[in-house]
Symmetry: C3
Subunit: 460 residues, 3 copies
């Protein structure tokens, strides 16, 4: 008994036919980035909760609170960190740096401190970027007890000698690590995992762009018929994905595909990073989508090989899990100068870039939904297509391309390869091949063999 719904292609593309159709969503996401930008987020704390509250207005989110001290593989959930106030006054009493002005001013996870220190001693706790004197750097100290401030280098250089008053009024005590999940059920219980990191304070591309676009994607996904189920997780980097993995360890076998989303708003080229093995279906799908994605503006999308450095794919792709999880970003891991500084602000993001990122993610989802193995039911010779009306034009694609796709699907559908492999061999866009398969199925020349149709569970 098949549990699969008929999943007519295109899914999201029925609404979003190209990147420009995603512009309204990208515009809304960009506005939301501006709204959420001032909030101080970290790997724990109330800033994360406030952010998830707001994202939950886009798409319903289930909240998870994991107590500090919970063991998580080689790690444990840290103490929760919150900030009341934090500033430094110079000898004249003037506040020379104040967390209230910008959440980056305080080193994340700074321990509480109150006292008077000399300039020399203070400088042990100050961070700046001499090469970018007007930018505030982003620094953390999650696992070493420390307090510190981040400043514009120009301001730091102007600090007069004398005694400074320091206030770091933070709490770092047993609490919880917070993450949230949007679950979008499909006709089958085979799952797609989507993960985006929530732990960065006032940084726009890294990762308010990822959080807001992921919420948009989740909402749109919930509006279409789906074959696959989706678990879309908003959690902190590293400790968050580890915590999620620990909490869901027995259910990981349901995950067929995964995607880490982040840094999706800068104008650099869209970049897919392959999963650990580079041969997962999500890798094949993303390579196909990015190859055929040419918006005519901006740099070409690119695919890079796996490396054990980056975002939460490091945890999903660790050898003990080895999940088929790739990553979609634009300029990742310090590949843009504004990375991890106050210059990564909402003005760095562009709506066309965000629209293209969202569109690419939607296309990947669409192909994951519609890709399948088909079997030619009239495999001896070519069937007569003319009498079945399959030699006329059809919808969007030029007639020649559609007829070409029909021939490819018939010739290659012996049960040994999926439509995506056929599209790649034929050098045709997946959607044309999928439309040809739909048309052939309609006239009874083709049958889909969904993985979930098999009672023995063997997937081709």
């Amino acid at each position: 008994m098949s549990t699969a719904v008929s999943a007519p292609f295109p899914g999201l593309r029925a609404t979003f036919a190209n990147p420009s159709a995603c512009v309204p969503l990208a515009t809304a996401a960009h506005e939301l980035v501006r709204e959420l930008y001032p909030i101080c987020r970290s790997i724990t704390g109330n800033g994360v909760r406030a952010t998830l509250d707001r994202l939950g207005e886009i798409v319903p989110l289930q909240r998870f609170e994991v107590p500090s001290g919970t063991p998580v593989f080689d790690w444990e959930v840290p103490a929760e960190w919150n900030v009341r106030e934090a500033w430094v006054r110079d000898p004249s009493g003037r506040k020379v740096v104040d967390f209230a002005d910008h959440s980056l001013h305080l080193v994340s996870y700074s321990v509480p401190f109150r006292g008077r220190v000399s300039l020399e001693e203070l400088k042990q706790h100050l961070h700046s970027l001499p090469q970018h004197p007007d930018w505030i750097p982003y620094r953390t100290s999650y696992y070493r007890e420390y307090w510190g401030f981040c400043m514009r280098h120009r301001d730091l250089e102007r600090l007069p000698p004398g005694e400074y008053e320091v206030c770091v009024d933070t709490t770092l005590q047993p609490g919880h690590l917070t993450y949230a999940e949007a679950t979008v059920r499909g006709a089958t219980d085979r799952e797609v995992l989507i993960y985006t990191h929530t732990c960065h304070p006032s940084l726009a591309n890294d990762n308010l762009a990822g959080m807001t676009l992921t919420a948009m994607l989740a909402r749109e996904l919930s509006r279409i018929p789906r074959r696959l189920s989706y678990r879309i997780v908003f959690g902190p980097g590293t400790i968050g994905s580890l915590t999620w993995l620990a909490a869901n360890e027995t259910e990981l076998k349901r995950i067929d595909h995964g995607l880490v989303l982040g840094l999706l708003g800068d104008p650099g080229s869209l970049t897919y990073k392959e999963s650990r093995n580079g041969t997962a279906m999500v890798d094949r799908v993303a390579r196909h989508v990015l190859k055929h994605l040419d918006t005519g503006t901006g740099p070409r999308a690119r695919v890079v090989e796996f490396e054990p450095y980056g975002y939460d794919e490091r945890q999903f792709c660790s050898p003990g899990f080895d999940l088929p999880v790739g990553r979609l970003t634009r300029s990742a891991n310090g590949a843009y100068p504004e990375y991890h500084s106050s210059a990564d602000n909402p003005d760095l993001l562009t709506v066309p870039a965000m629209a293209e990122s969202l569109y690419a993610a939607m296309c990947i989802v669409d192909v994951l939904e519609a890709n399948r193995v088909c079997v030619n039911l009239s495999p001896k010779g070519e069937p007569r297509l003319g009498k079945r009306g399959l030699y006329g034009s059809l919808g969007g694609p030029p007639p020649g391309e559609f007829e070409n796709a029909v021939r490819w699907v018939l010739n290659q559908s012996d049960g040994s390869r999926d439509l995506l492999a056929i599209a790649d061999r034929a050098a045709l866009p997946f959607e044309v091949v999928a439309l040809a398969a739909d048309a052939l199925e309609k006239v009874g020349l083709l049958r889909t063999r969904w993985p979930e149709d098999s009672t023995t569970g063997d997937t081709p």
Copy 2:
């Protein structure tokens, strides 16, 4: 018990050492093209029978007549079509187009019609090539009831207004589909299938060149000792190969190699199209032969990947048969401007092109015959070649090349690869490697392991 004859290499090349040695055969074929050119052929009918009568004077052909209505997989054998006369008279009574002048003037499979029509109505039934105003196009209407004429555009434009008299005196009624087969038996019953299409009217390259050269090849094949058996089929395109497949379905398992031949006379580059999988022995052989074929004149031969568009390889390579059948042509599928028009006439063909085509087909056959797995009988270290006279020069190849081939054959003949693989790895022509293997076999250092030697039937 081995049923294999000793098949000393070279076979056909004992007579045809290079393309220029094929010039007499190509010249005779070209003359035959001129002779057969006026005949009106189609997928059925007397023109095909007349053509096969003439080809049967080159090589004995067994004739097959399959009744109209015979089911053939998803198709059925169509009604038989014949033409008595067909013309159009203008208002002044002058014949403006007459089938008697050129068989292309009548749309193939035109249904009978007799009557008077206005110029406007007539034009619904006229076809021309505005971009080549002096050429008559080739048009068919096998599966839609229709009559029509094809004209030079220059003539069509000059038609005066008024009433035209039309005569399409054709018969389209139950009859037969005709094809013929030359069977050339070898020492084993493993078969090579060769197919060439016979359905085109007055078109020289497409496919009188293929028909005449295939007949020449069949005749020469019958004159040499053969290990393999050959079934050389002359039949109409698509419905012909489908009909042949239906008639021979239980015997297809004997086919080890296959080749569709056609369009072999134009001056474009010789082109081999790979079989569906691209890994069949005929693919490996053809790649090798075309790589080493350099006649110094004209464009380099080329190999193209399989695609489900083309000639009868589409049927042989459909997933229900998936036969190891490649295709040898020159400019195929509309890749030359004269394609499917009266400009594809005998003057388009060149004897050097036809000679090269025939030579390449002969070389492919020769390598299919002589390729084999050998086993070094003195595999521990190199045997002493000097004392066996294998370090002197021998026949044609330069001594260094022959000695090099001897070393490669000895080193690689561990039973895991055939001589062709050795030739490819050594970057040597197959014939030199095969001569080295023959010489080594003669002095007892090598033993051939023919596929047919195995009583269990497993082929290496």
Copy 3:
């Protein structure tokens, strides 16, 4: 129960960190080349014994004497050849060529002859190089009874007509074939075979460079802890390796890796020739080492595919043995103009070239010793490296590179690939990856799975 010693990387590189560190050894080897150059060696005879005596002062050598007539696969050990004197006097009684001046003057294995011959008859026995009139060629006649002299072409042309007196006072009679072996035992009985040919008379690059550097390598190897055992053989070409194979046939299964060394002193580019299959570990190691070897001087090292022509790898890589033996040379097989002539003398060699050759061989040995499969003991997610001190810098490599290697080793060590594969995928030098693995093993995050640890003997 593991029999493996802990083999901390680097081994030889603890002393020889780069090619320049090999200069003292290369200088000593070059001096030894000058000392041994005048000796007349051949595939048998006292010249070989004298050479092995001297090399035995570098590293202890076990001598083997195999009687003439001993069957060796398709061959047999030949008669032993020695020379007392050999010269030609012109009609005036002047010695125009004398073996005492240069060992190349006499064709190797010349049979005894004493008599008077005309110039015309003499010329049937004279060899020269018209294109290099000042060089004496090197000629042999091991298996055809013949005597002959090799001369400078300039001298040959000046020979006056008349009767010449010829003295070839050689012995060619039952005796022995001589070879020697340095055996360097390691913690396991898995073996590395190293072979260098000893049969050439006064030729410096071919192969005194190989003999002397191989002796140096053997001595250095004996000074470090070793996991593998080494059998380093000094024997004549072809018949020597065949004789060694026959004598050791039952023990060949212990050989995991092998290397033929020779022609290691000319200034051409260092060249590794792959083993018969090209996929042996020694092939992977050599490709890696030569890729990362850039001495900044001279041509880049290169890797060439196997071919059944060359030195003793031809015997080791014959199909009956198919041993994983590669070859390291500089300009091999006639790839330098001075090849097989008196111009291949000690002045052709350069110390930097010899040092680089020795260094590359040492690196290959080091990687063979240290390469292994490791298993991540904390495979679920990334372990916390900071608390284990693995995020600081360490020794030579830049900190970023070391931390990168740590991440790669953890991510890839699932038991399916060795450190070399990880280094290649990460595009890191093997030594950095091996140091990372050592560090991870020390903190308990990694376990080595040596092939010899397995009681069932299955090697990953």
